[in-house]
């Protein structure tokens, strides 16, 4: 008999019954995206770590309310993101997003000319500056949807809003960004 990895719904069922090893597997599967979401929403690594940790603890305790068969990740992100937003409200400040100090070479990347690299770097900086100037609601939508590459459903869960609200916030945010970049 060959053991096969448990799928997520099986892990959730086991965790519901108190199997902490199953919950550990779930935490390890989702902790990366949960932490990054919390970081982009709270703007602080320490707050993000606490928010993600609190989120996983609260989610475990709320497993009885999790709808069987529903995707787990949006539900987890909603809980973690809520913790992160609460911390941001308490702190009243957030750090600005920044680009990595030096772009790392990726295998297979063509080597750009120094001029092209400089231009690309300046364009990225300009775009990031424009994102940092957006309102919190718009910036959060852009961060979740594009920087974290979350689906619209996951973005809506993380922001605690409806999918239609995500669409309208993104549309307005993109419009603002285009105006700023063309100015």
């Amino acid at each position: 008999m060959v053991d096969r990895p448990l799928d997520e719904s099986e892990l959730v069922e086991r965790a519901r019954r108190g199997d902490l090893r199953a919950w550990e597997t779930i935490v390890r599967t989702h902790q990366g995206i949960a932490f990054r979401t919390a970081y982009l929403l709270s703007g602080n690594a320490g707050d993000a770590e606490e928010a993600a940790q609190d989120g996983f603890v609260k989610a475990y305790r709320a497993l009885g309310r999790f709808r069987r068969g529903a995707p787990l990740r949006p539900w987890l992100l909603r809980i973690v993101a809520n913790e992160a937003r609460n911390r941001r409200r308490s702190a009243g400040r957030r750090e600005r997003l920044a680009l990595r100090a030096a772009a790392e070479d990726r295998p297979g990347d063509a080597v750009p000319s120094p001029e092209a690299a400089l231009l690309a770097g300046e364009e990225r900086e300009r775009l990031l500056t424009a994102v940092n100037r957006l309102s919190d609601d718009h910036r959060d939508a852009v961060a979740c949807r594009y920087f974290l590459d979350l689906s619209e459903e996951e973005t809506a869960a993380a922001l605690g809003v409806r999918r239609g609200t995500v669409k309208s916030r993104l549309a307005r945010a993109l419009e603002r960004l285009r105006e700023e970049l063309e100015a």
Binding site: G46, E49, E50, Q53, Y146, F147, L148
Partner: protein, 236 residues
């Protein structure tokens, strides 16, 4: 997807994002409601490291009788007869979240003391909770961990040592210190911001502990006493 949306997706890959910590041990500990004997003390805002040092030690029955005590600044060392269970750890594992030096100093609220480093600044300073900072050094062909924390409040660092472990008082340029050599170590830490988190890991190496003003510093690695003291004297 529009050109601007594609640019934003690309920008996301270029952002400076901290590395996600392993949350599972703390999450499970909190769910299990493991007893946190230092919780009250932790509320006073400090981190505690417990380092148990020793090797296999034949005793008539399993026990952890405390035989002797040493104190050094914020540290306490206890001699015991058996070690707590421990797991292996990679050198950067369990050290906390990696930050730049500036970020770490802002989080800790004090200036870090470091030896001269090739390249000027450490690539990462690992910060556990908001009290304990660790930098990974390479010296004398070995990797070593330099950890430091402000020694305010009650005992911040607690060590357990077996009788086989050599514990020797030393001076680091006139500052009080202790050299601990022999046997594997186990490290337990407590994290104040996480409501006290405990983890026991196995470490192979010697330890130099010393004080500098309000800081307690700890150098861990496969270093001789002379090598460890030389590094400690260069820490500014």
């Amino acid at each position: 997807m529009t050109e601007l949306e594609l640019q934003l997706l690309g920008l996301g890959r270029e952002l400076e994002l901290p590395v996600a910590p392993d949350l599972a041990p703390a999450v499970l500990a909190r769910i299990e409601g493991r007893p946190f004997p230092w919780r009250r003390a932790a509320a006073l805002a400090f981190a505690v490291i417990v380092v148990a040092i020793g090797a296999a030690f034949a005793v008539p029955q399993a026990r952890t009788t405390i035989l002797r005590w040493f104190h050094l600044g914020g540290a306490t060392i206890e001699r015991v007869e058996t070690l707590p269970p421990a797991v292996e750890r990679s050198q950067a594992g369990g050290l906390g979240r990696p930050l730049s030096r500036g970020e770490a100093e802002r989080a800790l609220g004090y200036r870090l003391e470091l030896p001269p480093l090739k390249g000027g600044e450490p690539r990462h300073v690992y910060v556990l909770g908001d009290s304990l900072a660790t930098v990974i050094l390479r010296a004398y062909g070995h990797r070593a961990l330099l950890s430091e924390f402000s020694s305010f409040g009650p005992r911040l660092l607690k060590k357990l040592a077996l009788d086989k472990t050599v514990i020797e008082p030393v001076q680091v340029d006139g500052r009080e210190g202790l050299w601990l050599k022999g046997g594997p170590h186990t490290l337990r830490y407590f994290n104040r911001s996480l409501g006290v988190q405990e983890q026991t890991v196995l470490i192979h190496g010697n330890v130099l502990l010393w004080l500098d003003g309000t800081l307690t510093l700890r150098l861990e690695g496969k270093l001789t006493k002379a090598q460890a003291l030389s590094i400690a004297r260069a820490v500014r």
